[in-house]
Amino acid sequence: MSALRRAALAVWATAVLAGCAHLAPGLEPEDLARLPRRAELSAVPFFPQREYQCGPAALAAVLASSGLAVTDRQLEKEVYLPGRQGSLQAELVAASRARDRLPYELAPQPAALLEEVAAGRPVLVLQNLGWEIAPVWHFAVLIGFDLDAGRVVLRSGTTERLEMSLGKFVRTWDRAGRWAMVVLAPDELPADPEPQRYLRAAAGLEAIGRLEAAARAYARAHERWPDSVWPVLGLANIDYARGDLASAQNGYFAALALDDTNVIAHNNLAEILAGRGCREEARAHIERARQLAAKTTLEPAVAATSRKIASMPDSESESCSASATR
């Protein structure tokens, strides 16, 4: 009987180990060349988790590190879901946004996390401390690493300084879908900025009406990626939202100069031109937007603008090309 037990235990242990063995820490030689051997952000505040409050605790640590006066107890009301006894990633992102912080989701590579720590920013990570079939989701904050020792340091749960092997950390992070974010001041860039990731975060600020923060982020993005249409479009949208239609119109023209196929620049420009009574110009731009938006998620919104322009009275059909850019 005891031999059978031992055999069963061995089979179980092998299965568990085999399930993890193929997941290497995933650091490439060029990553190692770029990174310092060790770093630890000992100034990152620690909020010991109460009950299931690892979301508020981890978020408070990264927000406080970005210069905000915030505690885990304040965040609990904003991100905790009693019925799930936990917090959702989307709500951690949203709570950062609501405080004019840019929630930048990192590329799913271990090196991206370590680079942020090396640059002085703690990284909020989602881990799965259980198994694929019986997940145990946990938020923690990566604050340090030591490549020679193969260790990382986390603010985690009730442990202020949790040391873990790099390999084990990467496995728990990998099982949770490799999700990690840093919170940036709106005009701060991450260590290795990717335009799409940065712009989506900036556009999230615009989408919920944090216009001042969004404008700062777009301005920073425009500086960094001067050839991209999106920061220019974003700034024009913010001008529009603030009621500065003249600046918005110029912005949409500038956006189209960078990318003549941008649906939103055409649509929004058409909207402004129509509002000014410039029906011919408005029609030209909305027609172009309609062609470009066909079969995409933008199609219904463009169709709505198009209907509105088509229903404009004929008496206002004069051309305004002379004053189009004033």
Partner: protein, 127 residues
Amino acid sequence: MGGFFKKAIVHVLALSILSLGSPVVAQAEIIGTLAGLESHQRARSMERVQQALAREEVRAQMLALGVDESMLEARLARLTDSELSALAADLDNLPAGAGVLEVVGIVFVVLLILEAVGVIDVFKKFP
């Protein structure tokens, strides 16, 4: 059959709400930057309606999950449309980071099962 009609009515109502009121709020007419960054090929024509319903769906689910009513609107207002859609579709199964306390419980359950099956016998050592 009744369910189908109910759904159809909800969709029609949602559509009519979408087409209402837009001339009043000028801002609603332009398309936000995020919609452009997230735009993709459309699978179904009902997507826009579903987006309008997503906020309602998430509101109902969050209430059911015990979110404080005084905070509910603020929490909804800071989510983007695509985040709302994702939550509406799968709130029950999305990861909810809870923490290490649960691990203790799960380890205990695993030990109990192993004990019951006879792989281990830690508990017999405590009379």
